[in-house]
Amino acid sequence: MDFFLQLLVNGISLGLLYALSALGFVMIFKSSSVLNLAHGELLAIGAFLFLVFSTWARLPIILAFGLTLVGTFALGFVVERLFLRPLIGENLIEVIMMTLGLGIMFRGLLLFIFGGDIHSYPDFLPKSLTIQWGAVQIPSVNVATFIIGILFLVIFGFFFKYSSQGIYMRSVADNQPAALSLGVHVRRVFALSWAIAFIVAAMSGIVLGIINGINVHELSAIGLKVFPVVILGGLDSIGGAILGGIIIGLIETFTGGYFSTALKEIIPYIVLIFILMVKPYGLFGLVEIERV
């Protein structure tokens, strides 16, 4: 029973981690309908930037964190301006290929600068966050993940549903010419959504870095793990991403715990295919409205 409970807790923690990594991805999709294949590299960029500020430059944690956010925000603007703006109006597959090319480029660059080794941050999370409950233990990092995840869910949920800027972002993803005709600043929306996605990815990257250590290969692999998570929940649903993350996390830990570790890599995908066959737009995704 204890084993089961520990697996449950581990699964949920892992799932929240996946969900957190998926949020930036959903951000971009929601505001520009772009499937970002470079997401894992965005996570890595954030994590490494924080590493540079906190460990190498030895700045106080809060300052390092702030600088990371500002830096990734600016980087998001630059990347959008240089690489994605020329593609406004091009085919979907070309934009996807562009993110793919960017991902490969970033990975090469990060490997060149930081090498393939595992780095780690200084220990800075307060131990008091750790929860001990019978034989089950939840480390402080996972509690922090949980808090950050819920925080994001609430903030972005409100942002997209009620704030004007959020509605403009969704309108651009929906129908670009119409948004233009009403004076929505389409270029600004794109730039902003990439900048925000960079920030969100950076935060997730930092949390992942605290837990697993910072490694270019591992972080970019997480970028792929994001796909079953977001597809399961529905590409444009933030709540769906969280639930999808938890489902995938639970499936993985339980297959890992009861069957074999090799199998746990692909079980999420098999489950994914079956769920998609029943619900083609994921659990909470918007059903495509087609009028011919």
Binding site: I96, L100, M105, F112, A262, L276, E290, V292
Partner: protein, 356 residues
């Protein structure tokens, strides 16, 4: 003797047959003839072994890329599992050759059919899924097949892989690169011929209709699901055939080359070459293969230089960086691919000195 045809200065086509003709002029036929003579009569005898090796690789990947272009360029279904399909073909051929000692052509054919069947199965989600959701379903297919390659040890030999005996065809030993060159390019020409003609049949037209507007195609009475599956099967057949050739060419296979990266490279090939263009698939393949070779030479050279100065390891990632950069630049500056550049160059020659 009928009159030679030249480019007319306008659209003077009178029948559908003329409209459908592959070669607009007799010059086209002539150039093709010259090309084939060069391909089989000159190139294999003048190239160095290394060039021949690179050409063989280009030929093999080209077959798979043409197949992917049928699926993505014609039918409009993006697949991230093509690399694994390629692997299925390679494994089928390798298993048949090593365990059943089947003859070369038979195992090639069997690999194609087997992969078509697997492609058919992984095409099934396309009945309900579209666009990005389908893309992810094919990604799932990629991972599942990779898992099978590694873990079905009794058949695939696990991570150690399979050693393939050198094949022979019509009494010729296919062990050396030059004889294999003829086999590869004969197949490439055959598969291109099929792909080009596919576009002119009702199947090809149905594929293109599905790509442009699947709802409208359905309304016109095209059973879209059946055609999507057919497209998956045909494209996988190409991949399987190419994979089988690959297995015989490299003589030993492991699960490693058939990973997601290969699928991505295939997509890069057809995008850089030009979506929906058969010559484009070959240009794209040549571009990617040559870029890969060049980059590995450059990094090797730099590492040798660097080794003497003690900075060897750090240069290797630059290869990845340049590869990504090449894709990015191509998409920004020539989103229609090399095929478009080729078309522009050709027509500016044809129209010289009057540019329009």
């Amino acid at each position: 003797m009928r009159k030679l045809r030249f480019h007319p200065c306008g659209n003077f086509k009178e029948t559908y047959e003329e409209e459908l003709a592959i070669f607009e002029t007799d010059f086209g036929r002539l150039w093709m003839l010259i090309g084939i003579v060069l391909l089989f009569g000159v190139i294999p005898f003048v190239s160095s072994p290394y060039i021949l090796y690179v050409l063989n690789i280009i030929g093999i990947y080209s077959i798979a890329a043409v197949g992917l272009n049928i699926l993505t360029g014609y039918t409009g279904q993006i697949s991230l599992g093509h690399g694994a399909f390629f692997g299925v073909g390679a494994y089928t051929a390798a298993i048949l050759a090593s365990k059943a000692h089947s003859p070369f052509l038979l195992s090639l054919l069997a690999a194609g059919v087997m992969t078509a069947a697997v492609g058919f199965i992984f095409g099934l989600p396309s009945s309900r899924l579209k666009h990005l959701y389908l893309l992810i379903a094919t990604l799932a297919g990629q991972f599942i097949m990779e898992y099978v390659f590694v873990n079905w040890e009794s058949m695939t030999g696990g991570a150690e892989g399979i050693v393939v005996m050198g094949a022979s065809l019509f009494g010729l030993d296919l062990g050396n690169d030059r004889t294999f060159y003829f086999v590869i390019f004969a197949f490439l020409v055959l598969m291109i011929w099929i792909a080009v003609n596919l576009k002119r049949t009702r199947y090809g037209r149905a594929f293109i209709a599905i790509r442009d507007n699947d709802r409208a195609a359905e309304g016109m009475g095209i059973p879209i699901f059946r055609y999507k599956l057919l497209s998956f099967a045909i494209s996988s057949f190409y991949a399987g055939l190419a994979g089988a050739l690959f297995a015989y060419f490299t003589m030993s296979i492991t699960p490693e080359p058939f990973n997601l990266w290969l699928s991505i490279e295939f997509i890069a090939m057809i995008i850089i070459g030009g979506l929906g263009s058969i010559p484009g698939s070959i240009f794209g393949t040549a571009f990617i293969v040559i870029l890969n070779e060049l980059l590995s030479h450059v990094t090797e050279y730099l590492m040798n230089v660097g080794a003497s100065e003690g900075m060897a390891i750090t240069i290797a990632p630059l290869r990845e960086f340049v590869f990504g950069l090449a894709i990015v630049l191509f998409i920004i500056y020539e989103p229609k691919g090399i095929a478009e550049v080729w078309r522009v160059v050709r027509s500016s020659f044809r129209l010289w000195p009057f540019s329009y």
